[in-house]
């Protein structure tokens, strides 16, 4: 998200916050969030794709609402305005092709309007069939779950992305030899996927509240949290959305504070650190261990300030719209152990994995016929959770290595804290403070070394850089 977009969003959020006190917040939020999906989508070299991917986002959200909504709650008269708004926006944006001026609402010139109409017709037909003939049962929701995972893999596995790009280029009559995994940069899909999967799973377990189409789609594509989270829970989000909008001066003060902090973190601190942060080029150029650590520290703080800055901006924008988005970071680098680090770094992501992977797997292992010893169970669950979080960032061996590094770290911390339980409580306060400070330093450096796998593109470069860090190169 550029500074210009953020400033436009601040103005829009402030105006919406004032103008929709009595009514109209939901349809306006839906319309603006839908337009933001197009506006924030980066330009792609495959012709038309930067229009079709946002359209698919909206289509997926609508179909997912149908799938997760019990038949008796799919009431046409309550939900047609939401569909009309979304369909109208897709068509209007498509028509900008014929206006003769370039608006910053779509990444490039939209496709022909007849192509858009055909796409919308197919989407309507699919929606109608699902609406008419399905119930949100276990089987169909599991299928939807797998489809989202499948799309995710298409986007994140470089070989698959390349293949999809070749197919799309072939259809468009573009050069297949220029295909690249970067051709499929789908704005915010990682976060959209998490929200969709959360609603599928909660429908399966019966925890999903009844929500309208507009509420569901706004939850999925809420523009402040579209590109970098946080990943809210739908019942909490819709709860805020249904409250009457009455912003107090405290709300404005808090929103302003978070926005200023977020802008400062992102555009002053993170972007400055970005000039000198570790990357694939300078990793191979640095000639001493000391400077290699400096580059790594710069990367560690850049990624924190970048991400937490965006979160602050999202929370500030949400606050102006009466939505209290969840916190994502709580001074993670000041935590004395790795478990606490992960309880305070990208909190909404870890909570998601805890709710939908770690806890169910742990429960399944505990209740299984053949019980594993506790340490093996902890190792298996920690390791697999962290590898999955790594793979969410990108399907490559480097992210697997990053996941293994953290999974093993969490396992060892689990065992260590079990062993030391009660042993250090007897120590004088001074020594406990020393241990705590040592823990903060150790945890930070453990996390920082893990960033090597995150920042660099291959295991070979990561290995060479780790040697430089250790003074072996």
């Amino acid at each position: 998200m550029t500074l210009a977009y953020i400033l436009v969003f601040v103005i829009i959020a402030a105006v919406l916050g004032v103008a929709t006190r009595k009514s109209g917040r939901l349809p306006l939020l839906l319309a603006i969030s839908a337009m933001a999906v197009y506006a924030l989508q980066p330009t792609l070299p495959v012709r038309g794709l930067d229009f079709w991917l946002p359209t698919l986002t909206l289509g997926l959200a609508v179909l997912s609402w149908v799938l997760t909504t019990p038949h008796q709650q799919r009431i046409w008269r309550n939900n047609w305005p939401g569909m009309a708004i979304l369909g109208g926006i897709v068509l209007l944006l498509g028509l900008t092709r014929y206006m003769g001026i370039s608006l910053p609402l779509t990444a490039s010139n939209p496709p022909l309007v007849q192509e858009i109409l055909v796409f919308l017709a197919i989407l309507c037909a699919a929606g109608f069939l699902l609406w008419r003939f399905t119930q949100p049962g276990k089987l169909i929701l599991s299928a939807a779950f797998l489809i989202v995972i499948f799309i995710f893999l298409l986007l994140k596995v470089p070989a698959l992305s390349n293949w999809v790009s070749q197919v799309l280029r072939g259809w468009n009559g573009q050069s297949v030899s220029l295909a690249s995994p970067l051709d499929l940069r789908w704005l915010g899909f990682s976060y959209i996927a998490f929200r969709l999967l959360h609603t599928f799973r909660d429908r399966q377990t019966g925890r999903l509240p009844a929500v309208s189409l507009s509420e569901y789609v706004v939850y999925i594509i809420f523009f402040p949290a579209l590109s970098a989270g946080p990943i809210d829970r739908i019942e909490r989000f819709v709860g805020d959305l249904r409250q009457p909008l009455s912003l107090t001066s405290e709300d404005y003060g808090e929103a302003g504070k978070r926005l200023v902090m977020g802008l400062f973190k992102k555009f002053v601190i993170a972007d400055t650190l970005g000039l000198v942060a570790l990357n694939a080029t300078n990793a191979m150029q640095v000639h001493s261990s000391g400077w290699a650590w400096i580059l790594l520290y710069a990367y560690a703080f850049q990624i924190y300030f970048d991400f937490s800055g965006y979160t602050d901006i999202a929370i500030g924008l949400g606050r102006l719209l009466g939505i209290k988005l969840p916190e994502n970071f709580n001074a993670p680098y000041l935590k004395p152990n790795l478990t606490q680090f992960w309880n305070n770094w990208h909190m909404t992501l870890t909570q998601w994995f805890r709710a939908y992977y770690f806890n169910p797997v742990t429960r399944a292992l505990r209740s299984g016929k053949k019980k594993l010893p506790i340490p093996s169970m902890v190792l298996l669950t920690q390791l697999s959770t962290m590898i999955l979080i790594g793979l969410w960032h990108g399907v490559s061996w480097n992210f697997v290595a990053w996941g293994v590094w953290h999974g093993l770290g969490l396992f060892f911390h689990n065992r260590w804290s079990g062993w030391t339980k009660g042993r250090f409580a007897m120590l004088p306060m001074y020594w406990q403070k020393v241990l705590n400070a040592g823990g903060v330093l150790l945890t930070f450096h453990f996390v920082a070394i893990g960033w090597v796998f995150f920042a660099l593109p291959s295991l070979s470069i990561s290995g060479q850089f780790l040697q430089t860090l250790a003074g072996l190169r």
Binding site: S249, E250, L275, H287
Partner: protein
């Protein structure tokens, strides 16, 4: 928090903003450039900050002369008593486009382990990649505070035309310094020339200076990568080589053969440089140029020079040097054509070594004070 609280915050913020801007105008913002992490946290650079691709070269072009000098190794501290200090000023060929710092003329001379008058010869590169004698004079004038024992001044005809003295961005953006040089040395340049960018009041405020302040900050940040990698320039594997097939046009800066108009050349600026150097000896070097043998090479030497103009300028330089007692070294055809890189004045490390060999002898012939 009430409405009056927000109103007070806004009013106080505006007042502070106004005061800070006015204070910024009152104190010379150029002085900010003297605050530098180079030579303190980071090692000093071996040549001026210059670069158009900071992400690869870990270097960037700025116009604040204080900051440029403060980033150099020469600004590390007082001159050691056992140092014979040589400064090399000049254009991009002195700075060393496509050359590592040790491969430049200054780098090769510095690495030669020379001794003069019982002192170790240390050679500093003060070249900057634009061609203008006024720019060279500005650098030389500033550099005199570093107490040089000898100044080497490589130059070429392209630095002489009066019509292009002020168009170099570093000259244009240092209008007050250039004004000072014009009045001090009675230079044949117009202080009201539109090329010189005299900042307005608003340009001098914090807001007006935001870009240059950000650049100063970025220069400090790139000190990390400079220190970590030793890289201050990007070295493309492949680049366009200097033209050897040339156009048939023989005009030179609007001048037609047969006679080169001496009044349109900046000899007075060269003489001002010699005056600025005071008692410090100056070795003037006519730097090597590419002598092409391609198309139209009977009319032109290279992209820059028609033969007639360059030959006449060399004669003028010879005459001036003889009549005014300049220490002058004409190396125009010292480097063979295959030793030029991406320009008719940029040479390979081997070409620089040839040049260094010739200059080295002249350094060693200097008399001791």
């Amino acid at each position: 928090m009430s409405g009056s609280f927000f109103r007070n915050v806004v009013l106080k913020g505006l007042a502070l903003f106004l005061i800070i801007n006015l204070v910024f105008v009152a104190v010379n913002s150029d002085a900010l450039g003297r605050i530098s992490l180079y030579n303190r946290v980071f090692k000093g650079r071996p040549r001026f900050p210059f670069g158009e691709d900071p992400g690869q070269s870990y270097n960037l072009s700025i116009f604040n002369l204080d900051a440029m000098f403060a980033s150099l190794a020469i600004a590390a501290g007082p001159k050691p008593s056992n140092e014979y200090r040589v400064l090399v000023i000049g254009d991009s060929s002195t700075w060393g486009i496509l050359l590592h710092p040790t491969e430049t003329l200054a780098g090769q001379l510095d690495g030669a382990g020379l001794s003069m008058c019982g002192k170790t010869v240390r050679v500093y590169n003060l070249g900057y990649p634009t061609i203008s004698l006024t720019k060279d004079l500005m650098v030389l004038d500033y550099a005199m505070r570093y107490e040089p024992d000898l100044i080497i001044w490589p130059m070429t005809l392209e630095a002489f035309p009066l019509d292009s003295q002020l168009t170099s961005p570093i000259v244009a953006n240092n209008a007050s310094r250039v004004d000072g040089l014009i009045s001090r040395y009675k230079l044949p340049l117009n202080p009201a020339d539109p090329a010189l960018m005299h900042p307005s009041f608003w340009d001098q405020t914090l807001i007006g200076q935001r870009r240059s302040i950000a650049d100063l900050f970025r220069l400090q940040m790139y000190g990390v990568l400079w220190s970590a990698t030793g890289i201050d320039q990007s070295y493309p594997v492949d680049y366009a080589h200097a033209q050897t097939d040339l156009v048939s046009d023989v005009t030179y800066h609007g001048m037609q053969p047969p006679a080169l108009d001496k009044s349109k050349l900046a000899f007075s600026i060269l003489e001002a440089g010699l005056r600025a150097a005071g008692k410090t000896p100056v070795l003037i070097v006519n730097e090597p140029i590419l002598v092409s043998s391609g198309k139209n090479s009977t009319l032109r030497y290279n992209f820059y020079y028609p033969r007639w103009a360059y030959d006449q300028w060399r004669q003028l330089m010879d005459q001036k040097a003889a009549s005014q007692g300049w220490d002058y070294l004409d190396l125009w055809n010292l480097v063979p054509a295959d030793q030029f890189t991406n320009s008719a004045i940029h040479v390979t490390p081997a070409g620089e070594a040839r040049m260094a060999g010739s200059v080295e002898n002249t350094i060693l012939q200097q008399s001791c004070p």
